[in-house]
Each structure stands twice: as C-alpha cells, then as structure tokens.
Amino acid sequence: MSDTITNILLVGVGGQGILLASEILSEAFMQAGFDVKKSEIHGMSQRGGSVVSHVRFGREVHSPIVPEGEGDILFGFEILETYRSLPLLKKGGTVVANDLCIQPPSVLLGQEAYPDNLAGKIAALFPDFLLVDGQKMAAEAGNVRAANTVLLGAVSKRLDIADECWMKALEKMVPPRALQVNLAAFQRGRSL
C-alpha cells in the first residue's frame, strides 16, 4: 500500500443527505483495509446552509480535514455548492455533481440571481467533470429519493475499491427496506 492519501469532498445543502453518503464512503474504505478519517459540521451550519464533508483514506491519515487545494474528487449534491467548493480541489481534480439547483435565501427573495452556466464554468476549470441527472436516474431505478446513491455509484467508479466493499458498506448503512432500490441506483451510477 502506498503512502498516497485520497481526498474526497462532499458538498451541498443541509438536509440533502450528505452525511449518510460520506458514512457509506468511509465504511467502504475501512472495509478495503485503509485508514479513514472524515469530518463535517453539524448544528447551526445545517438548517439549509452550505455543508462540506471531508473524507480521506490511505495507509495512515492525519488531518481530519482535506488540506486546501488537495482534494482529488469533489462530489457535489447541488451545482452552486459544487462551484463554490472548487478552490478545495487540486489542479486536474475530478468533479462529479448532481444537476440540481437549490436557491439560497437571497435568490428566493429576488435580491440576487442564481449564477448562470455554472456547469460550463466548472467544466472550463476542471475538464474531468461528470454532470449527472441524479433525480431522473434514481426515478428509473425505482425511487427519486435515491439520487445520492446514483451519484455515489458514479464516484465509486473513480476509486480503486473492490465491489464487495461497496456492497458491504451499502448493506450496513442503508435501511433494509430501502436497500434494493439503492443497490439498483448505485449500479446505474457505476455505469456512468
């Protein structure tokens, strides 16, 4: 095992299920035999505010947060939050993002505009960019609520972790009644 550490950032809006997705990632990395650390903020930062979760794995991980500018993969649940977090990524890093806009308060109030063409701006800065219609693909898999799992599948494809580790992590972290749909959503994401 090399000394390289892989840094993943999960970003979006409080209430989107970011913490669960980061738990599944962490569990899969532990199943694969890596040291893992993860960090995020609860409390006042939720309630619809911006959320950033850091997940790091490798032979030995020290800092629980990803050093600025060293993110390998940015896993975005919402497009504005994905764009906002680009400075955390290293040059040439990978972006996998859900094609979803959630308006922040100032936009809801009509005081500011939601920035346009964010996907284009992300692609210009980070060519390794996959934009996923998570809701649509999740609906095809059986439940629109499994959008995060579609994205997780797409992210998993970009990590060198054995299939069985992902399966074990999903089985452990997803409630039994939702497992079938989530496994289907995960496989759809993995095909991207």
Binding site: E27, M44, S63, E70, L80
Partner: protein
C-alpha cells in the same frame, strides 16, 4: 473488533468500557451526541438535565455515592457548571468522575470560542485532550483511572473537529470488578465549610504537583523524535495538522494539557534547535512554557482566533496554503428556519410592530436573519429575559413598550426561569415570548422537562409553563397559536402596551418532531398565478418554500410555493391581500 466512530461516539464507548453508572448532560453542539450514544448502553443511567450545572451536580452525587459518572457539555456550558466544578475540585471524588467539554473553535455553532483549557487551570483539575476517536475512547477510560488514583475530577477536552470527525477505533471489553456503590459518611471531605475547605486546598495543590510528575513518564505524553531542526509541542487535533504539514518535525505530543509535564518539556526543548507550540485559540501551553524560562515560538505565527487548518498552519510556517483555483463571488447560503417553522410568524409580527427584541440561544436566533430582521441582542442562555428586565430600567415609558424578550421552551427551563422570577419580583414592565415548540430543536430534537419524555423515550411529568409563570408571579399570561398571525399580533400589541411584566406562550410544535401525533402537516399551499400580483408580501416571511420567479422582458415576477417543501402552515396565505395563495386540492 474495529469500527468507524465519531469522537462523540468513541467517548460514549469509553464511558461504557469504563463501567460508568450515571451520565448526565444538557445538549449543545458539538457535544450533544455523546449522551445520545451513551443512552444506547443500557448499563448506564443516562438522562438530560435542564442545564449544565444540574447535569454536573447529578454526576457529582453519583460519584459521591461511589459510582463512576460522567457529565457532558459544550464549552459555554462549563460557564453555567463552573460553580460546582470549582468546589468539586476540593472535595475530590468517590467513584471516578469525568467532565467532557467540547470546544468550538471557529464558532461553527456557538456564540464565542472560549478556550476550556483555562478552566482546568482555574479549577485546578487535570485535563486530557484526545487527537482522534481512538484516543477519545482510550482517554475516557484513562480519565476514570486518573480520577480515582488522584482523587480528582478529570476534564476531557474535545473540539468540533474531534467530536464530529470519524476515524477507526479498536474496541475493548468493559472493566470488571469495580466496587459496588454505597453510602459512606465522610463529612470533613465532602462538607465544604471553611474549616474543611482549608484542609482540602493544600491537598489540591499537592495533587497538581503529583499529576505533573505523573505526566512526565506516563505514555499519554510522548516524544516523537525526527529531524531536530524543528521541535513542536502540540496536542489534540492540532497534532494531526502538524503531522500533515510538517511530517519531518520532531513532536512532543501532549495527551494531558494540564498540568504540564515541565520536566519532559525541558528535555524535549534541549533536543531541538527551534521550539514551537502549535495550539488553537489561547497561548495556553505557550505561556506556561515561557514562564518556565524556555524559549518558544507560538502566537507570533499562529492566530488566537478561529480553528487551525492544514492551509493555515502552512502559512504560519511560510509555506504556500495550497489553494490554486479561485471562483467568482457567489450568493451566500446561510442557515434558515425550516419551512413551516412556528417561530416565523412571531418574528414577522415583531418586525411589523417595530419591537426591540432581546433574543436567546436556539433555532430562533435565526430570527436575526433577513428578511425577518427581528432580533436586537443575543448573549447567552436565559439572557433574553434578564436583559429585557434591565434595558427597560433606562428607557422612557414609550420606549419601554417596544422591549420584547424571546426564548425557547428548553432555554427558558435552562436558565430563563430565574430571569423571569427577577422580572416578576422587581416588576419590570417588559414582554416575554416563550416560543414553546415542545423540543430542544437547534441541537437536533432533544427532549426537555416540558416535552413529557425522557432521553430513554419514557413518558414523564411535563412542566406546565402557564402554572410555572403564574407561580413566579406573572399576572398576565396569554397562550397563542403562532400560526394565526392576527391572534399573535394582537397578543403582542396588548402585552407590549401593558406597563407590567407579561408572558405570551406560543403553542405549536417544531416541524421536525418525529414523535407521533406531535407535529401534524397541513394541506400544502400553492400560488394562483392568475391572482398573484408580484407584490412580494409573502416573501417577507423568508420561508424556504416560497420562491421568487422573475419574469422575462421587464414584466412583474411572481411567487411560487415548492410543494415538496411546504408544510401547510398557512402563514403566507394570511399575508396575501389578493387571495392568490390557497390550499392545493
């Protein structure tokens, strides 16, 4: 057996492994999940207390009875619990006792970023500081051993990045063979009258000397010798940033941050060319090292404000911070009250009535945010009522009428009751609104003495707020439905104009309460696009479910209600003068 645990989960596991009998806490980010995980160990008697002082005293009682006990709180909670803490230091323990305090550098969810290590020195008790989840568990166990060995309360300090960070933990079996708790009379040790306390104080001072000696050889303080050009003294999460950013530096990693093992520090200093202390917030270690006559660099390069990050540490050591990409300025995304939150209409009304609002700690502090803009002060738990009582004493009669204190049910029972007692006792003519949403919402829906349920999900007595306020001497109490804007506004106007203390209690539960039958969703609302004139009156509520949809070509935009977010609270419908908002069929 290995598991990925958060620091808070690991502290809970440590308490279980240490054979803890009693656990008490008041919720506060980032400490809340400690007790929420301890309750899963059925061997431990776990309960919420109305505030941190009471939590600590419950744990002190259990310790005096001979059982191991733990109290958990956020940093500002120790301010509330400081009174018993300082004298408990004198009495010492029966069964081992640990006070867990979770600091919040960067103030992710707090009103200040005070450094709790100062409490350890102030109260003359040892403090351990774990650097990851494994140490959270191991140090919790260790803290109980130290507590009994040295007859002292022990503090365990976490911070947001440790409490809410996850890492891999190897679990162990719980200890066995702890003595059975029983009553043992020992009044000269436990009754802190001056005569007895004078005997205990020298014991406390000697205890600190012995603990510092113990720390010189104990494995929780360790030297990691690498390149000797740079030597760094550090502890807690800062240790992880040092290892990340300066992998070749020699490190003295302290597991016990008070009292300091000065002999060990001297030995380390002699081995390295330049000595640094890397610590968040106050120069706590640095000042003591400097006072011992050892040359060291600390706050000359590292800020006293905020938390450390790898990038900030890099900058401190003259390295680039790593960021390579910049993005355009973007609309911010601050937190907001939930769609359907029963507080929203109250703050809307307070704004309309141009009230001067003394606020308090909870979700409702978000009433400060635009467009509600209905909070003028917020200091600490319970302060809304007492600051209102004080502010009216300097105002002329017309201005007095504008002063309204707002406080949640949990915060009222935490430290607001004494404040209201003062207001009634001294007849301060301000209005108090108790936003009773049946839960401690901000920290994630914890039960409290007014909710009727315990931490272990058992039904219990529920405090009757009307009777409580009556007993305190409040003669004018109105209970209102905060989702009825006319009723809310009328009650506020009446009580604001009354030159006497008065209380308004709102009676709608938090939309996040999951217990069956407490919160009930209404019929989802929608905007009739033909009737909407684009007046934006509904937008003044700042409800996340109501969206402004601009129209192209200079035409007027219209409001839109997101049916997935709307809870049918009906407040926006009451604001629409054009009857454009209605219940969807």
């Amino acid at each position: 057996m290995k598991e990925i645990l958060s620091g808070n989960e690991a502290i809970a596991r440590g308490a279980f492994e240490a054979g803890v009998k009693v656990a008490s806490a008041y919720p506060g980010t980032p400490s809340t999940e400690i007790l929420e995980n301890i309750v899963n160990y059925k061997e431990i008697d776990s309960s919420w207390a109305p505030n941190e002082k009471v939590a600590l005293e419950v744990a002190i009682g259990a310790s005096f009875g001979g059982g191991r006990s733990i109290a958990c709180m956020k940093h500002v909670g120790v301010n509330v619990a400081a009174d018993p803490l300082f004298t408990f230091s004198y009495t010492g323990v029966g069964g081992g006792f640990v006070l867990v305090v979770a600091d919040d550098p960067e103030m992710h969810s707090s009103q200040n970023e005070q450094d709790s290590r100062n409490y350890a020195r102030f109260a003359k008790v040892p403090m351990l500081e774990p650097a990851d989840s494994q140490e959270c568990k191991d140090f919790t166990r260790l803290a109980f051993e130290l507590s009994e060995q040295f007859d002292t309360p022990v503090m365990l300090r976490s911070c947001t990045r440790i409490s809410h960070g996850k890492s891999i933990v190897a679990l162990a079996e719980p200890v066995t063979g702890l003595p059975t708790p029983k009553l043992v009379k020992n009044p000269t040790k436990l009754v802190m009258l001056p005569g007895n306390a004078k005997i205990r104080h020298p014991f406390v001072e000697e205890r600190l000397v012995k603990l510092a000696e113990h720390g010189t050889t104990a494995s929780f303080n360790r030297m990691e010798m690498r390149d000797t050009e740079v030597g760094i003294i550090t502890a807690g999460v800062s240790y992880q940033y040092v290892r990340e950013v300066l992998p070749t530096a020699s490190v003295l990693k302290l597991g016990m941050v008070y009292p300091l093992p000065m002999a060990l520090i001297r030995e380390f200093a002699a081995k390295v060319k330049t000595l640094y202390v890397v610590e968040e917030l106050d120069p706590f270690i640095e000042e003591q090292v400097k006072a011992a006559g050892i040359a060291v660099i600390g706050k000359e390069i590292i800020s006293r404000c905020g938390e450390l990050t790898p990038g900030r540490l890099r900058k401190a050591f003259g390295l680039p911070d790593g960021t390579q990409t910049t993005v355009e300025k973007l609309p911010g995304r601050p937190p907001n009250m939930c769609p359907g939150c029963p507080h929203r209409g109250v703050f809307y009304s307070l704004n309309q009535l141009k009230a001067y609002v003394t606020g308090d700690i909870g979700c409702y502090t978000l009433g400060f945010m635009p467009p509600l803009n209905a909070m003028d002060t917020c200091v600490c738990m319970g302060a809304s009522i007492s600051t209102a009582s004080g502010i009216v004493r300097v105002l002329d009669p017309e201005e007095k009428k504008k002063v309204v204190a707002v406080i949640g049910d949990s915060t009222f029972l935490h430290t607001g009751v004494n404040s209201l007692m003062e207001m009634a006792y001294n007849q301060s003519p301000a209005t108090v609104v108790i936003l009773d949403n049946r839960i401690t919402a901000m920290t994630g829906r914890q039960d409290n003495p007014a909710s009727g349920w315990t931490l272990s999900d058992g039904q219990t007595n529920a405090v009757d707020l009307v009777q409580l306020c009556t007993a305190l001497g409040i003669r004018h109490i109105q209970v209102v439905d905060p989702l009825d804007l006319d009723q809310t506004r009328k009650a506020l106007q009446e009580e604001m104009n009354r030159p006497e203390p008065s209380v308004i209690i709102t009676n709608r539960p938090c939309v996040l309460v999951k217990r069956e039958g407490v919160f009930q969703k209404g019929l989802v609302l929608s905007v009739d696009q033909d009737h909407c004139t684009g007046c934006k009156a509904c937008l003044k509520l700042g409800c996340p479910a109501i969206e402004w949809q601009p129209a192209p070509d200079g035409k007027k935009g219209k409001a839109f209600i997101d049916p997935l977010l709307c809870t049918g609270c009906d407040v926006c419908r009451q604001l629409c003068k054009f009857n454009a908002i209605g219940r969807a069929q």
